[in-house]
Amino acid sequence: MMLLRKMLRDMRRGKMQFVSIFLMSFLGVFIYTGIGGEWYGLQKAADNFYQETHFADAWLYGQGFSEKDAEAVRKINGVTRVEPRLSLKTIGEQFDNKPVITLLVTENPMISKPKRIRGDSFSSAEDGVWISDRFAEAKGLQPGDSLTLSYEGKAFTKMIRGTVMSPEYVSSSASGDLTPNFNNFGYAYLPAASLPISGELPATELLLDTERTDSVRLEAEIADALGGTYSVFLPRSRFESYTQFQNEVQQHRAMGSVFPLAFLAIALLTILTTMTRMVNLQRIQIGTLKAIGFSRRRILQHYVSYGFWLSLVGALLGTLLGPLTLPRLFYPSMSAYYTLPRWGAAQSPLFYGMAVMTVLAATLTTYLACRELLQGTTAEALRPKAPRAVRRGWLEKVLLRRNAGFNTRWNVRDMSRSRIRSLMAVVGVLSCTALLVCAFGMRDSVNDVKTWQYEEINRFATRLTVEEKATSEQIAAAQEAVNGEAIMESPVELRVKGVKSSGLASITDQVTLIGGTDASRHEMKFPADGISISYKLANKLNVQSGDEVEWHLYGQEEWTSSTISAIYRTPVAQGITMSRTYYEQQGYDFRPTSLLTAEQAGGTFPGIASLWAKSDLIAGWDKMTDSMYIMVYLLIFFAVLLALVVLYHLGLLFFTEKERELATLKVIGFSSNRIRGLLLTQNIWLSLLGILLGIPTGIGLLAMMIKTAGDSFDMMIVIQARSYLFSVFLTLIVSVTVNRMFSGKIRNVDMVGSLKGVD
């Protein structure tokens, strides 16, 4: 009981030191569980959604699947369920912007079930449509309203029975949009019975439920069963809506795992230094406690409990507050991009593990700092500790010239004498600089992608999306009217030595408004012959110029083999590109999907579904990068906080250790400013070392984060000189600010008191 009182009073006396132990263990756990709660919440929400709706394991796309085909696939070993579905691209006729609405006609979906949000649940017995909730929301549609769709010029109207979310559309956008604009696309479920045709459903898709994970073998067996009459087989791992969301989660996860480690490492160093100092200061007290008759165990318990309680309170508070606060910062911008029925942070057992680990590590560190107590006799403990010997270390040999000044000598020896303290300062500054470089670099790199995508590559002012049903006369007229260039874009499947991958194929008809950039971002011309493949895809497939690649657009059943004639680099859409001439030489029809023009085109054209000004596309991009900016600001905030806490803590530590020495210098006649300069020197040396090491660490961190951005996204590490300057400058400002915080303390050093005796 008395010892508990002693602990509480000790803590009150050494407030700041103990606050920093608490703060560091709090921050470490807070960030870990905060960002962790965010990504884990996303993962959990998605997993629940996928499970609840029985998300398909694989998809088959083709020109038409009969019930016989479905049956053949069903017979394959390991395939538990197959559902045919008809997918039609219809136009929402009642809306000015004529959005494309994917009509999904199905009997009784058990795979990728639409989840009811408002109105009735999907029922194949009723007539009507169930439309996507986000689209309904964007258009202000309610259950009970009617929806008019047109397909190949024929319009039909259905009542909206309810709104739904499909697990296949977690991440999805209209074909012209880089970022989802829910005004521009939607999907609607229609019971097969409502279709004005009789007989078998002319399915264009087969949804598969399977336990098999060997997708290559599975596809071979399916190809066999169907006699090759299908276009594309997609396992979940290549289903874009799925992979994109998983990549996003992975990215958040990567960030959430690295940063807390820095905080935890520093928390432990803080504890080590604080407790070592505390035990040294309380040496006589400890001797007294021993002399009174406390057992070593009790005393050790007493001191270890300091670290235990503080880190316990910090870790608990972090575990509680992290998931409550940080996810809220991310979810608004994330939900603008992804569609999930529920958004919420989740608690993972991992978080409690991290909290327990923090407390254990803190307690163990405290134990290590106090272990010395176990050794030695009571009488020894009652005597002041012998001063630590000073020897000429390697540091001195390296750094000290014979004529070095007092300032240099004093600092070099002081640092080599207090290695842990110096190391901690370097680690603290290093982490700060690294986080800043990483944060600013991330901002620069993402901005660079914007320049790259919208200035270097896309040079058009307006992009016109061609309707699927548009006639070639309509397209030609529109092209003539806006002085446009035609481009055909389609998802493509590629195959190299049995390894498959998908991407986007662009077939260009003498296009000048799309620029090419090579692997090192220099301007390049696309060759007229053969295909060009994007850098990231080439790396993924491990192919080079001159290699053969097989490809087919979605909807084509035959593979075409082509030679890679160039490699180009592009940030967002990985795939292949080729000229119209080459495409037609392979025996295919060129059908433009978009027209590009340098003019600010406006108005409506027959056969054109939508018009996109480049500024709209850029605005969409900016919206998408919002969540990234939040991460950047968080990083900057925590980096500065980290450095402040660490350096302030070290300052205190330094000050209490060196008070006597500083008093001596003052008595001898050094002015307060001079002494502050002395401390500033060391501060700046260690800061500079930390900064020097922090810059490459920051770049490495950034590279690691960019690597987690996923297969479809290619980003270059770009860090502007300004960003380096900011990072270094901000770090130095923190360092000097902390130094200034101590100038008052130096002025008030008690010359009389600290010189009297050895305490």
Binding site: D414, R660, L665, G669, F670, L755, V758
Partner: protein, 234 residues
Amino acid sequence: MKPIIEFVHVVKEYGVGEGVFRALDDVSFVIQEGEFVVILGPSGAGKSTVLNLLGGMDRASSGEIRIKDQNIAGYSEQQLTEYRAKNVGFVFQFYNLIPTLTAWENVALTKEISGESLDADEVLASVGLAPHRNQFPSQLSGGEQQRVAIARAICKNPAMLLCDEPTGALDSETGTAILTLLQKLSREEGKTVIIVTHNSSLAKAADKVISIRNGKVHSVEIHEEPLAVSEVRE
């Protein structure tokens, strides 16, 4: 001989809780240049306060402290720093050497703050420590450390040496040697040396003994022919 230090009606009060504690109550005395002075008194008598005021580490509540005709009682913090740097050499009970500097460096440290400082090697030799110049304080014995401290104090060529219980942490033999050194500095080099102690055995070796009791000057003794330190300490 002319007075180097004059305390004129010096009062020093400390606030203690709500009350006031008067540590020095109207203290006046004079110390001449080159004198070997002992300020004597039991613990708590106020002798350390005298030393603190003399050393420019603290300010008097009232009265004048004239050092070479300058009243330092009215000095600013900056003036006091300069005063300490130029005029006062301190020797403490626990040496207070900078642990990270060698013996020579501790002495040469004074060059950093006083332009008139002496050659560190010569000063070290004069206290008999030339062979130990490159050792760190932790490698020296207590007596050797105190010699370094004395060397550091005299190296900047101050007007006075202020010594606070300089032998308090040393064994008797070493203590005698240190005091002999201090007395020699006064006699042969004309330094003003002021030793603050509670040990009256040194009194007979001093030119002047100022006894402080309960914050007041109890008596001032002047010895025309003081004994050698070795004669009074056995």
